[in-house]
C-alpha cells in the first residue's frame, strides 16, 4: 500500500515540472519501474488514479516501462539476466554480483499540454488561427 505514498510524490514532482514549463495539463507520464524497487506496477497504476484526481495530471495516461533485472559479475565480469530472488551470475554462478538494472523507480518523462509556445511558433500559431 506504499504505492499511494509514492504516487503522491510522483504527482508533486510532475506538477512542479508542468508549472516550471508553463503547462496547464499533463497528458502522459512515463516511468521506469524495476521489480527490485519494491513497487508493484499494477498497484501503482491503481493508486495513480486516486493520487491524480483534482490535479493537472488528472487525465494523464501512465506508461510504466518494466526494467529488466540484470547483474554484473565481479568474478567473471559477465552481465546476465537474473531473477529477483536469485541475483547470481548466469555465466559462472557466483553470487558476488552488482545489480545493473532492476531497482529503478524513475520518472522518465512527461508530456505537457497547453504549454506557452515559443515566441516564433506563437507568432505562426496566431496567424494560423486568423
Amino acid at each position: 500500500m506504499h504505492e499511494l505514498a509514492i504516487c503522491q510524490a510522483l504527482i508533486d514532482q510532475v506538477t512542479t515540472v508542468a508549472r516550471s514549463n508553463g503547462a496547464q495539463r499533463v497528458s502522459n507520464i512515463t516511468l521506469d519501474v524495476g521489480p527490485l524497487s519494491g513497487v508493484v506496477p499494477e498497484l501503482l497504476a491503481n493508486a495513480f488514479t486516486v493520487a491524480a484526481a483534482g490535479t493537472l495530471a488528472e487525465a494523464a495516461g501512465l506508461t510504466i516501462n518494466p526494467a529488466p533485472v540484470r547483474v554484473w559479475c565481479k568474478s567473471c565480469q559477465a552481465e546476465s539476466d537474473a531473477k529477483v530472488n536469485r541475483l547470481v551470475c548466469a555465466a559462472c554462478g557466483d553470487w558476488r554480483t552488482v545489480l545493473r538494472s532492476g531497482d529503478e523507480l524513475l520518472l522518465r518523462s512527461v508530456v505537457l499540454e497547453e504549454v506557452d509556445p515559443a515566441p516564433t511558433l506563437q507568432d505562426s500559431e496566431e496567424k494560423r488561427h486568423v
Binding site: 500500500m1 510524490a9 510522483l10 508533486d12 519494491g38 530472488n85 547470481v88 520518472l107 507568432d123 496567424k127
Partner: protein, 250 residues
C-alpha cells in the same frame, strides 16, 4: 505564405505548435523523500551519531533486541530510539523503562516510516547526547525497504519461527540489509526445520555480502557480536567524519 496556410507545422514540430511538449525528467520518484533523508543524514553526521534502521516482520523481536541492547551497552554507548508503529505507545514504554530516550511515531494506517516522519521525531531528541540512534521501523517486510530515512545502516531481523526462506520471499528487504540478525535462536532446538545455513544462502543469492549473526535477546546469545558491530560502526563513522575524539561518547 507558410505561416498563412499552416504548412510550416510538420509532423516533426506539430507537438510544439500545438502547445505540447515532451519533457525528460529522469528523476527518482522518491526525490522529495530522498532529499529529506539526506538532510537527516547531515543531522546524524553533524553529531557523529550512528543511525540504524531496524526492519523486520511484526513480532520478529525488534523491541526485545533493543531492550537487551540497552542493558548490554549500559554506560558504554549512549543509545536513543525512534519507534514506528501503527498504533500504541507499548513499544516506546518498554524502551523507556530501560532508561533510553525514545520518541514514538504512530503512523495510523501507514505501513512504513518516511524521512519526514523521522525528521519530525528528531526535533524531540537530543542527538548531542547519543552515540547510536535506532529507528525501529513499522513491522513489515515489504514497504519500509523502499524509503530512505537517512540511516547509515539497514539491519533486517529474521526470527526463527518465521522460516529460513524469508530472504527469498522478500528480496527487496533482505537485499537492502547491511546486517542480518537471525533472532530468537533460543528456539532453535524446538525448530530444527529453520536452517541458518539455508537462510544465509538465500541472503547471498541476493548478491548481498552482509554479515549474518545468530542472536537470542532472551539468553543474550550472540549479542556480543551485535554490540561489537555497533561499536565498530560508531568508530568507522567518526573516523570517516573525522570528528575530534574529545566529542566521542563517554
Amino acid at each position: 505564405m507558410c505561416d498563412t496556410c499552416g504548412c510550416n507545422v510538420t509532423p516533426g514540430n506539430r507537438d510544439l505548435a500545438e502547445g505540447r511538449q515532451a519533457t525528460q525528467v529522469l528523476g527518482s520518484l522518491l526525490k522529495v523523500n530522498d532529499h529529506q533523508a539526506s538532510h537527516n543524514r547531515v543531522h546524524f553526521n553533524g553529531h557523529g551519531v550512528l543511525s540504524v534502521n531496524l526492519m523486520s516482520s511484526p513480532g520478529a523481536g525488534k523491541t526485545a533486541l533493543l531492550e537487551a541492547t540497552a542493558e548490554l551497552l549500559d554506560g558504554d554507548l549512549r543509545i536513543g530510539v525512534i519507534e514506528g508503529d501503527l498504533e500504541t505507545e507499548n513499544d516506546a514504554d518498554r524502551i523507556r523503562a530501560c532508561g533510553v530516550p525514545v520518541v514514538q511515531i504512530c503512523t495510523g494506517t501507514a505501513c512504513h516510516l518516511d524521512a519526514h516522519m523521522v525528521h519530525d521525531a528528531l526535533h524531540e531528541l537530543d542527538l548531542g547526547s547519543l552515540d547510536v540512534l535506532f529507528v525501529e521501523n513499522v513491522g513489515n517486510l515489504v514497504c519500509p525497504a523502499s524509503f530512505d530515512l537517512g540511516q547509515h545502516h539497514n539491519v533486517a531481523l529474521l526470527s526463527t519461527p518465521e522460516g529460513d526462506d524469508k530472504p527469498a520471499k522478500y528480496p527487496v528487504m533482505f537485499r537492502s540489509a547491511d546486517l542480518v540478525l537471525l533472532t530468537k535462536r533460543d528456539l532453535a532446538p524446538y525448530m530444527p526445520e529453520f536452517d541458518a545455513t539455508k537462510a544465509a544462502n538465500y541472503v547471498r543469492q541476493l548478491g548481498n555480502a552482509a554479515p549474518i549473526l545468530e542472536v537470542s535477546s532472551k539468553t543474550g546469545g550472540g549479542l556480543g557480536d551485535w554490540t561489537d558491530w555497533l561499536r565498530r560502526g560508531v568508530t568507522e563513522l567518526r573516523t570517516n567524519l573525522a570528528v575530534p575524539s574529545a566529542s566521542l561518547g563517554s
